[in-house]
């Protein structure tokens, strides 16, 4: 199989679906694929990125955002950052107390 050589291979490319003609406009869905190939192991991640609307007056590209992932990442990063900052704050407070006691 050409995908699985004896080294890690990855590639990312855009996919375009069949244009849909609806209500006087052509709508083309656009996705992005990320493929990772290992020897005998493979991962594929395919997500929609945008939709292209073609009308008489021009082409408009509407992005498709994953709000669920954004919410999870926002919460996780925020909480992790605050938890990691806590020992630093405690360390600083202890240092201040030591200086005061001297």
């Amino acid at each position: 199989m050409p995908h699985f050589q004896h080294r890690i291979r990855w590639r990312s490319y855009e996919t375009r679906g069949q244009p849909i003609h609806a209500q006087g406009q052509d709508i083309t869905p656009i996705g992005r694929v990320m493929q990772i190939g290992w020897p005998r192991v493979g991962l594929i991640w395919h997500r929609p990125v945008a939709v292209e609307v073609r009308r008489n007056d021009g082409v408009k590209r509407l992005p498709i955002r994953n709000r669920t992932r954004r919410a999870i990442v926002f919460f996780s990063v925020g909480l992790s950052a605050s938890i990691l900052a806590l020992p630093l704050l405690m360390q600083q407070r202890n240092l201040r107390e030591r200086i005061r006691s001297r």
């Binding site: 996919t15 849909i20 992790s80």
Partner: protein, 173 residues
């Protein structure tokens, strides 16, 4: 004689063919669904697809059993998983195209619970004393085992249970 194709062992080629079929997830049709029309409104569902797979194989050569190996003392196996989540819906209404995102509350809650659990564990870990500073327990492990065997923490008016015993075993400084 009709060849028994259903019970023959899977070869590497079969698995590679199966993987090639899985590769179809990379097509745009896997992510964008068929448009659904209801009156003046057309909806195209969009979802994210992720899949992973692996396969392996090998042969076993026994000493003095070359013929057996030639008969097919080999095996191949593979496994994989796939998941798909809805992300958004493309809505076409009155010549206007809009993208409506889909919030998966279950996944958000899952993420929040996992992160909170890890954060609580990390906080608890921060408050644990160092091993060298940890106070000596009141009862030795041998003593504890004897108490539990005799059922003393679970009987009578002064029964404390496992948790009570563990708390009582922490000598305060």
């Amino acid at each position: 004689m009709i060849p028994d194709t259903h019970t023959r062992p899977a070869s590497m080629n079969d698995i590679e063919q199966a993987i090639n079929r899985l590769m179809n997830a990379a097509r745009a049709e896997a992510v964008f669904g068929q448009p659904v029309e209801r009156g003046e409104v057309t909806v195209i569902p969009c979802s994210e697809v992720a899949l992973g797979f692996g396969l392996g194989g090998g042969t076993r050569a026994r000493s003095g059993a070359v013929q057996q190996q030639q008969q097919g003392n080999a095996g191949v196996g593979g496994g994989g998983g796939a998941r798909s989540h809805p992300i958004a819906a493309i809505i076409i209404k009155n010549d206007e195209v809009s993208v409506k995102p889909i919030m998966d509350r279950t996944r958000i809650l899952q993420g929040i619970l996992t992160t909170t659990g890890l954060a609580l564990f990390w906080l608890a870990r921060l408050s644990w004393p160092e091993r060298k500073n940890r106070p000596e327990p009141v009862f030795s492990p041998r003593h504890l085992r004897r108490m539990i065997r005799q059922g003393r923490p679970f009987r009578g008016r002064r029964r404390v249970g496992f948790l009570g015993l563990a708390l009582a075993n922490r000598r305060r400084r």
